[in-house]
Amino acid sequence: MANLKELTDKIASLCNTQKMTRTMKLVAASKMRRATVAQANASEYAKALRQMIANVAATSDVSHPLLEQRDAAGAAQFLMIASDRGLCGGFNNNLFRYAWKWTQNHDPVFREMEFSVCGRRAQLFLRSRVTDVTHYEGATERPTYERAAEIADQLMDAFTSRRVDSVYLVFNRFKSALVQLPTIERLLPIAQAPAHASTSDGDSTADTSTGVGGASLFEPAEAELLDLLLPDAVRFSVFNALVENAAGEHAARMAAMDAATNNASDLIDQCTLQRNRERQAAITKELIEIVTGAESL
């Protein structure tokens, strides 16, 4: 009899858990929808910004402090972006494992590595491995451009003041609701390649070459414009990484909670079957007792 009671309690508690995971899944789904809209908006801006930089870079010899290549084995700074909260499957751990391996096996070996993080999970991961971690709190849940710009400005300061020789972004790229790809991207010095029109898609390059009257007017001159555009591009890259991370986090949580809900319903089925068997056994036993009792009279 005790077993029957235990099973009933277990089923009740499983039902509660399932209710919770299902709710979390729904919440994550609606947050993900909002986050993917933000990501789509950001990509439109990215396209326009890249085009502008390409136009300026195409007409002038590009040289800028943020483009300066330095010792590849010098001091490197990493900005690791992860979620604040867990319960999102392997989302954070995949990224950490990938990034940690990458930093340890990088060739040439970095002379020095500095870490800064967005998101509590990343901080928890690095706390036991690295002595000094700068944590930008509250940036990942709902990324805002202001906050991203703040972080980017600090990274640019570190680079231009020659405290570090390169800055890397570590984050999960949002491929689709099902796929998030751990990514390491060099933020500084800015890679020269995307500054040329050749990397953007075919039709936009055609646009620039056949532009009315050839060369554009620049106001102010190219060098000054670049001086304004490049920091903006860096700020935007950080913002973009935050947005991708947010979308990925919600997608990963949705998938994890969906799996949890399914597992809970499997367990409930199993337990219910067992409970019914148990109950039937108890009834049969009682019947036998009654029958044998009647017979013995």
Partner: protein
């Protein structure tokens, strides 16, 4: 005889921020606060790339005027389309409000410098 080139009657304007587009559509003209002074863009304008300072963008749509405030940005004109990029854009309902807001911001800036 060659036919005269068809006059493009309107401009395609998009005002974009990292957090989403603030305006997208066909307009008759745009006035923007360039770094070296305010300037206007009408259909047929030559290709241009300009940095913008904090100020007001005036958009003319079907004869009606709309005002947007922005805090630094860039404007590009290319083949009948204008793209404005800015970190932060805000729509205001009329010229008076726009001027008032800009004045408040300018004053708070001055105070920050004094302090």
């Amino acid at each position: 005889m060659r036919r005269p080139r068809k006059w493009r009657a309107s401009l395609k304007l998009s005002i974009l921020t990292p957090e989403g587009p603030a305006f997208q559509g066909l307009v008759d003209g745009v006035v923007a606060p360039g770094l070296q002074g305010s300037f206007g863009v009408l259909p047929g304008h030559a290709a241009l790339l300009s940095a913008l300072e904090r100020g007001m963008v005036k958009v003319t749509v079907n004869g009606a005027e709309e005002f947007y405030l922005l805090d630094k940005g860039f404007l590009e004109v290319r083949e009948g389309s204008v793209v404005i990029l800015a970190a932060h854009v805000e729509k205001v309902k009329d010229l008076e409000t726009a001027k008032r807001r800009l004045k408040i911001v300018a004053e708070s800036d001055r105070e920050a410098v004094d302090a």
